[in-house]
């Protein structure tokens, strides 16, 4: 496939509902089951090693009308929670073995309960991911939490999930993450080599594919990017921050670029590419994953790390990518992102870094207001 074909294929995959994405994967892997993964992070390797395809649950975008979930969640709750619940209430997830949620925010936690009550046939897991990276007890706890998930999943499936299988899955996901890092690395140096919306589309589509099928696409895309002749574009070099859970409509990212911004780095779909480096199993893959979560993770708004504050993380992301401004793109009603914005904003103001906040919703279909704001922002910088 050419790069264009890969991107188009990924666009097509993102148009599918999770059930349809699973069906597509089953054409090639007839025996796999599906397992939903609500953002931000879950140990995908355990799910994959169990013979399941981890499928990112990023809501339903504009593909499903919310007719049941609105009566369960109030108007001030984020779109991703509503549309994810809607998928379960409409029996769209019935082909799945279950789903995993984690302690990212209060809404996600309650969503997990609602899904559990309303779909009793599914296995619903809730992970309490650690918020203390610095305690002497953190590693044992995190290892135990991942092991608990492994044990519960194995028990539900009535089959063992071996270290060997997890190790093999780890190799695959290491490869996915490493290739994604390379794509991002390349984009940092040559932002014109791939549209931000295309890269975003590919990375998000990867959450709906088996890693073994996704890897060749990433390899091909990377090879094409490296050889592609591009004309450098001028623009405001930006980092997009705040889209770690609910994902912005692709149209919004298009608008960011069309307004004259060059996206150098972002935190979109960050949970699926969380680690700075490959995780080395060393005979204990679960322990290695726990260690990586504690000390090898990229900063996110849903993980407290006393010794590595997010504000420093964002400044480093700016510096390392050569960005000169920040576009905050939090989902409407996203409490972690909206609260983090306050401290981020303070630090950026202190460092005299321009920034703009553009909130989004899943069903956003017109971007005119955002376009005007972004164009004004970009012009104010370009012609300053």
């Amino acid at each position: 496939m050419t790069s264009e074909q890969i991107v188009q294929h990924c666009r097509d995959v993102l148009e599918l509902l999770p059930r349809e994405a699973l069906a597509l994967a089953r054409e090639k892997h007839p025996d796999i089951g599906g397992f939903g993964v609500f953002p931000v992070y879950a140990p995908l390797e355990i799910i994959h090693a169990a013979g399941l395809m981890p499928v990112g649950l990023f809501g339903a975008g504009d593909k499903v009308e919310i007719s049941h979930a609105d009566s369960r969640f109030q108007s001030f709750i984020c779109s991703i929670a509503k549309s994810t619940l809607e998928l379960f209430l409409r029996d769209e997830m019935d082909d799945f073995v279950g789903a995993v949620f984690s302690s990212i925010c209060d809404v996600a936690r309650n969503l997990s309960s609602l899904v559990q009550r309303n779909t009793p046939a599914l296995y619903i897991e809730y992970l309490h991911l650690p918020q203390n990276m610095a305690s002497a007890g953190s590693l044992d706890y995190t290892t135990a939490e991942f092991t608990r998930f492994r044990t519960n999943l194995a028990s539900h499936l009535e089959r063992e999930i071996t270290d060997e299988a997890i190790g093999k899955s780890l190799v695959l996901y290491n490869k996915v993450r490493s290739l994604t890092r390379d794509l991002y690395g390349h984009r940092k140096h040559k932002p014109s080599s791939i549209d931000a919306s295309d890269l975003y589309t590919v990375v998000q589509a990867g959450t709906r594919m088996m890693p073994e099928d996704f890897i060749p696409l990433l390899e091909q895309l990377l090879a094409d990017m490296k050889t592609r002749k591009v004309h450098p574009r001028d623009g405001v070099k930006v980092v997009i921050e705040g889209s770690f859970c609910e994902q912005p409509p692709v149209g919004l990212i298009d608008v960011v670029e069309a307004a004259g911004c060059l996206v150098k780095d972002d935190d979109m779909v960050v949970g699926w590419r969380l680690f700075h480096e490959d995780i080395v199993a060393n005979g204990d893959p679960v322990g290695a994953m726990a260690q990586a979560y504690l000390t090898g993770s990229v900063y996110t708004s849903v993980r407290h790390d006393r010794d590595n504050p997010r504000t420093v993380g964002l400044m480093n992301r700016m510096k390392n990518s050569g960005a000169e401004a920040v576009i905050f793109a939090p989902a409407k009603f996203c409490e972690p992102a909206l609260l983090d914005y306050v401290l981020f904003r303070q630090k950026l103001d202190e460092a005299d870094v321009p920034h703009l906040k553009v909130e989004f919703e899943e069903k956003m279909w017109t971007f005119e207001a955002s376009r005007t704001e972004l164009e004004t922002f970009a012009e104010s910088m370009l012609f300053d």
């Binding site: 009566s71 109030q74 936690r109 997990s112 009550r117 007890g137 044992d140 409490e335 909206l338 401290l343």
Partner: protein, 430 residues
């Protein structure tokens, strides 16, 4: 039949006055501490470990209580607006905004009413916003922060690893307290403090149990606030334990005399969700007008679900602190556990209905309460009313709309009761 009722100062006033006195003493201590170097520490209400701070004579400070007081005194809005100017969104928790706004306006530190903390102890017990709130406080005031990450209840009981993780962090907190104060940790002192805690917790449980009586001696939603301050903020002191002895005595006396919280107890309700503090009295009046009295409430158990039998054990000091933080409070338990808690309240306290007060600020409480309403009305057949406003931000309280909803609900309940009575009479005649 009209129940006997004590006059205002007797049935609400005595316990309220006792509570106000000891809470005022504590707040005076806080004010005094702004002028001294007495070590103090921020802590959150839910599943807190105030006893450890007390063991080092560290003055506990609760930003939630600060926010609550601003709201109930109708002072919260200017501080909320101040925070919104700093970048907080209209959709962010207004407790956070009021407290941060107050801090930024000089309410904390020299010249304010609350001391600048020497340490911030982030007891992350369920509410994710706690983490952000305390990160902001630590950053804005440049104060060191200790994280106590308390694993959420996600199995029937916490695992050995959950408990060990918390114990390790508690020991790390103790080390920090030793460094801060220069005092050596004294486990026997902690045991003494926990004896006071246990006595207060037993008093709480006895008081709550009395609400099974008809009429209930106090409103277990609106009047519980008088007990929530002492149990959550002053726990571990002799004063708090004595307060509960006196409170129980008072309520037992009322039960013996047949005195109730309402002039005419017509409806026994269970209330879910925090109250709208800026309109506390108005909101209460809307229920009192119908003779509706809360016999239980989930909000009163945010700090601890003492009435289900737990109390701290001086013989297992750190272990029982860890268990309380993990298991025995509302915030660290799932929505489905809350459904069970409410169901048991409705059954054990013979409630007629469930009232859900859904607040915008606190997603821990509110996200998904529509499902709760579905469950209680459709699956259990319990009449359920859901109303919306906020616990801190007065802009979200619409009095007329609230009154309409509450009136319609109780009117409908009254009608059902009359009809059921008529049916019953008809049956007898037939």
């Amino acid at each position: 039949m009209r129940t006997a009722v004590a006059d205002d100062k007797d049935y609400r006033g005595k316990v309220h006055a006792l509570s106000r006195d000891i809470m005022t003493d504590w707040m005076t201590e806080l004010k005094d501490a702004t002028q001294t170097n007495i070590p103090s520490a921020y802590l959150m209400i839910s599943g807190n470990c105030v006893e450890i701070l007390r063991c080092f004579d560290i003055l506990p400070v609760f930003p939630e209580i600060n926010a609550l007081q601003l709201a109930i005194r109708k002072n919260s809005l200017p501080y909320i607006i101040k925070s919104e100017e700093l970048g907080y969104a209209s959709d962010n928790c207004a407790y956070v905004k009021a407290d941060i706004g107050y801090t930024m306006c000089g309410g904390v530190g020299e010249g304010g009413n609350i001391p600048k903390p020497s340490l911030i102890v982030c007891n992350f017990v369920g509410c994710n916003v706690y983490i952000k709130w305390f990160e902001h406080c630590a950053d804005m005031m440049n104060v060191p922060m200790v994280m106590l990450d308390i694993p959420f209840v996600r199995e029937d009981r916490p695992s050995k690893e959950d408990v060990n993780y918390v114990l390790t962090q508690l020991k790390e907190l103790i080390t920090e307290c030793e460094k801060l104060t220069g005092k050596k940790f004294d486990i026997d002192r902690l045991r003494e403090i926990l004896k006071h805690s246990a006595r207060a917790e037993q008093g709480w449980t006895r008081a709550k149990e009395l609400c099974k009586n008809r009429p209930t001696p106090f409103d277990s939603y609106f009047d519980s606030i008088n007990m929530m301050g002492p149990i959550n903020a002053l726990r571990g002191t002799k004063e708090a334990a004595d307060f509960f002895d006196q409170t129980v005595e008072q309520y037992e006396h009322m039960v013996e005399e047949g005195m109730g919280a309402a002039a005419d107890e017509k409806f026994r309700i269970v209330v879910e969700g925090p109250p709208p503090y800026p309109y506390y009295r108005n909101f209460r009046n809307l229920f009192e007008a119908w003779g509706a009295v809360a016999v239980q409430s989930t909000y009163s158990t945010v700090g601890g679900t003492w009435e289900f039998g737990f109390c701290h054990d001086p013989e297992r000091p750190l272990e029982s602190i860890a268990e309380q933080m993990i298991v025995h409070n509302l915030c660290n338990r799932s929505m489905l556990e809350r459904y069970k808690q409410i169901k048991s309240y409705v059954e054990d306290y013979e409630a007629d209905a469930l009232v859900i007060h859904s607040i915008k600020s606190c997603r821990l409480f509110s996200a998904g309460q529509g499902d709760m309403r579905e469950y209680f009305t459709k699956e259990l057949g319990i009449p359920t009313l859901m109303v919306e406003s906020d616990l801190e931000d007065p802009r979200y309280y619409a009095e007329a709309q609230m009154k309409n909803r509450i009136d319609a609900f109780f009117e409908s309940l009254s009608y059902k009761r009359i009809r059921a009575g008529a049916e019953s009479e008809k049956g007898k005649v037939g």
